[in-house]
Amino acid sequence: MLSRIALRSVLARQSASTALVARTSATDVSGARDEVNFPRPVRGEPGKVRLGFIPEEWFQFFHSKTGVTGPYTFGVGLITYLFSKEIYVMEHEYYTGLSIFLIVYYGTKKMGPQVAAWLDKEVDSVEKSWNEGRLQTVKALEDAIANEKDSQWRAQGQELLIEAKKENVLLQLEAAYRERLMNAYQEVKRRLDYQLEKAALERRISQKNMVDWIVANVTKAITPDQEKQTLDRCIADLGALAARK
């Protein structure tokens, strides 16, 4: 009990870095994963067999030493030896075995392909059901990525739109500026025109007044004698003109 407490205190005092170093040096010398000599196991096809159950490799083992018929010769020879020496005894169970072999052989030949097809179908359906969730997740994620790309594309369109709107506002500002400029010009022109008109009118009125005044004064200044003299003079002129004709 006490020793355990002492060990615990030692472990607690040990710093994290030394613990890590100790662990890595303890597990492995080189430390790298050896993928060449120790690849990840893969699920292969079932091994090949001959005569229904004897591994193909056993025949291959014989081929280099005895040729292709060697393994069969060896098998037949071995069975003959076992029968001949009665190591394999042909008692009543032997004939039972023969009939069972016939039944199994017939059953395999007759129903094997159908059973195999049915089992393959079941295997496929089980594998499909196991894969379905994964494939659905992958598809959902791919859809999400496509949606995200689409919304990014839309956001770029929004930027274009904002750009166009800014340009539009600038155009409106320009139009307002020009309108005001035109307004100012017209106002100034109107005032100037007014001043011009006013000046012209004043001059005309003063001219008219002056003319009226002068005419009035002149008319006032004409005496009846002067009028008479002028009329006489006129008549004389008219007479002279008539005489010349």
């Binding site: 994963r33 993928e35 120790f38 067999v49 009665e86 195999a116």
Partner: protein, 107 residues
């Protein structure tokens, strides 16, 4: 190495996921490639402790499983192998009784 532990030679960092059909020690010449004269020394080099024997049986079992029973589309071979194997096994254990049914005295 207690019961249920991985073999001493198995290092997860180097070997990756554990394959129960695989021998992780130093490989010797395969039995099928031996010459007859080398069989004796080959057998002498084998580790014959009970743990090693059990390990060999376990590897053989898993190698058979991976090769015949565990593939995706299994054929009838492993079942016929089981049938033949059990017939042989029961013939051997019953041989003491069966040999009384011999028909011939001299062979």
């Amino acid at each position: 190495m207690a019961i249920g532990d991985y073999p001493k030679e198995y290092k997860p960092a180097v070997h990756g996921p554990y394959d129960p059909a695989r021998f992780y020690g130093k490989p010797d010449t395969p039995f099928g490639q031996l010459k007859l004269s080398e069989v004796g020394s080959w057998l002498a080099r084998r580790n014959k402790s009970p743990a090693a024997l059990m390990g060999a049986c376990s590897r053989a079992w898993w190698r058979w499983q991976h090769k015949y029973m565990q593939p995706k589309r299994v054929n009838g071979a492993p079942f016929f192998q089981l049938l033949v194997g059990s017939m042989t096994f029961f013939y051997v254990i019953n041989y003491g009784k069966i040999k009384h049914h011999r028909s011939y005295k001299y062979h």
